[in-house]
Symmetry: C2
Subunit: 386 residues, 2 copies
């Protein structure tokens, strides 16, 4: 099968690398014919072009690998590829989180496939395994450490005791964090991955937006990490969702896990994803959630599924689920210097200096508390206790 | 697709359970037509028969689920099913570890499939993911906590401080261990799973036998567990294999892991499996490695792959690999009351009462030491330090 790649940054170049002289069957059946790049780069390589129409009208090109990132022009170019009956594979969770239902319908109409394994969990075959489990029974819970950058920062803070800003700069220097790190540290990237996973798991069109609860790790201090560590707890930024009786929760929040928990052993920029299904119980996968070759590997796996006609189990996204963030209840901790005695009336709270340990409170109530306290203390920290 | 099940014990009945009135697509396309049981049971259910010829000659039955366990009559019945152009799926790692190459060739000749997802890792989709990774690149390492019974025993000893025999009896009472527990606690079950995994990973006909290094957990005492725990180490029975330059190691041994390691978080009767491949690095999966519904789930997944024509990546098993147990080197600990000063000459050893901590020694040398010391101390313990 001949393919075109849109964009030749880290991810696009990773695909080219995996497909240059592969010796193994069946990956040696894939060939990169064209690579769409910006006009100023066209002369750098023979396969480079800035003419997308040429790719769209090339009957030899059966599949397009979208490796641009971000919503536009990726969304428009994916739409055009599908309209021209090209299969599309993408690593872009922004565009899939927003347009999955639309693209899926369009692909079906055009008789082609839209696959996005690498958009969630990078090199971890998460989508493939989630879809596979769904062939037999329903999944009622998905959860993950879905962002390598935030995990790297928290892990490094835990190891070194260094403050957030220092570790973030280090992550940027190492290429683990971008110049604008907000998508990673504020939970937007996890929100996309959680919504895509929940949409597939529960067959509903669940998109990022105000109905999710989202708290990132910007307010985590070295003192917080030290304090929790003394209590044998480690902090992880996690995405969590459960589905019960037509209701769904979608939560992204710092979460304290015992240092002997499986989540605690997810180090550096690794990812962990977990699902719960009735017949197999819990299944979790741990691996590289980002990076050039893991992401390219997952894109090539999608291409191979197309080449080998291993059609993915298409999930109908028409279930109407009500978002209910009260579905999940746990202990939470708030760290703030504000006077919160009024806010916490009616809750079972243990205070330890600036740390307020609140027993069994719904995620909705905990996040609401954090929002109202934030008006008085911008640096308030909220964390769930797993 | 109509199927027959051979044997209706725990696993066979699990398949019947999953296929009775499934509502989901595509699992609702599978129907159990016949169940082969012993003559004295035939009258218990309409679908029961003791006439295998009838199943073999029933043109409606396209696939046979072998749920008998053990080598015979399973091997003969699988062979006959393949010869009659029935697809075969099996949960039986004894028969697959011994006959994989033969059955694979026979299935290919007959134009049918032989799948065995559930034979390794139970409900964990290990074979599917291993074969999927192999579509792109080679795997050079497989490793796992592959036996739920031994993991349950070690976990329970660690939690309760109780001796081996007491915990084993408890495991037998709970149905986690069989009346004859030797396959689980002496490492034979792991040896089968390791050989199957290594055979697929490295494309070689690797079978259980004298060329593997194998030490089980019979000699683990409550005092050992207590001593290691004081050093923040937990004991796990693991299977490990690496492949380098035409050489392969195949090792089953108790292994000490730091209590914060991923392996340490594999609790009770869970399994963990891990592979290493060049483009995605480490990938590990954790889930239920045994039990009625997880095992049945994996059998049904294999049936669905047949139904949906998702042919597995067939691994050619013709590579000639030399078994070399010197490939893996690590620290080891020996616990013995025998006088071992002569045995340990030339090694870098730290002694702590009956515990001898040996630095950087090959697996071959460590297992050889344990074998020679065993002649003087039947209860000697050997464990690798991860």
């Amino acid at each position: 099968m001949k393919i075109a790649i849109l964009g030749h940054g880290t991810v696009g170049a990773g695909v080219t690398k995996l497909l240059s002289n592969p010796t193994k069957q069946p990956v040696n059946q894939l060939t990169v014919k064209s690579i769409w790049v910006r006009p100023e780069k066209v002369q750098l390589e023979a396969r480079y072009t800035d003419d997308y129409q040429q790719i769209l009208h090339d009957p030899e090109i059966e599949a397009v690998v979208e490796a641009l990132g971000g919503e536009e022009p990726a969304a428009t170019m994916i739409r055009e590829a599908l309209e021209h009956q090209k299969h599309v594979v993408t690593a872009n969770n922004v565009v899939i989180a927003l347009h999955l239902a639309e693209f899926q319908q369009l692909a079906q109409q055009q008789g082609v496939h839209l696959y996005f394994e690498s958009s969630v969990g990078g090199g971890i075959p998460w989508i493939a395994n989630l879809e596979r489990v769904l062939r037999i029974d329903t999944v009622n819970e998905v959860q993950g450490i879905w962002n390598g950058t935030s995990n790297f920062i928290l892990d490094e803070m835990t190891e070194s005791g260094a403050p957030f800003d220092v570790v973030l700069s280090e992550a940027q220097r190492l290429g683990y964090a971008e110049a604008d790190p907000s998508a990673d540290i504020d939970g937007d990237d996890i929100e996309n991955k959680l919504c895509i996973s929940a949409a597939l798991a529960y067959n509903a069109d669940l998109r990022p937006g105000p109905q999710t609860l989202k708290v990132g790790i910007r307010n985590v201090t070295a003192a917080d990490i030290h304090y929790f560590k003394q209590q044998q707890l480690l902090l992880k930024l996690m995405g969590k969702s459960v589905c019960q009786k037509g209701q769904v929760s979608l939560i992204i929040e710092p979460t304290l896990v015992p240092k002997t928990a499986a989540e605690a052993s997810v180090r550096a920029n690794q990812n962990q994803v977990r699902l719960h299904e009735a017949t197999i119980g819990d299944l979790s996968l741990v691996g590289q959630g980002a990076g050039q070759l893991p992401t390219a590997h997952a894109l090539v796996q999608d291409l191979l599924d197309i080449e080998l006609a291993h059609g993915h189990q298409q999930q109908d996204l028409s279930s109407l689920l009500q978002v209910n963030q009260n579905l999940q209840t746990s202990d939470y901790v708030l760290r703030t210097h504000a006077d919160v005695r009024q806010d916490l009336v009616g809750y079972d709270v243990e205070r330890d200096a600036d740390y307020y340990w609140i027993k069994q409170i719904s995620a909705a109530a905990a996040h609401q508390l954090a929002r109202q306290i934030k008006l008085r203390d911008q640096r308030v920290l909220l964390a769930a206790v797993a």
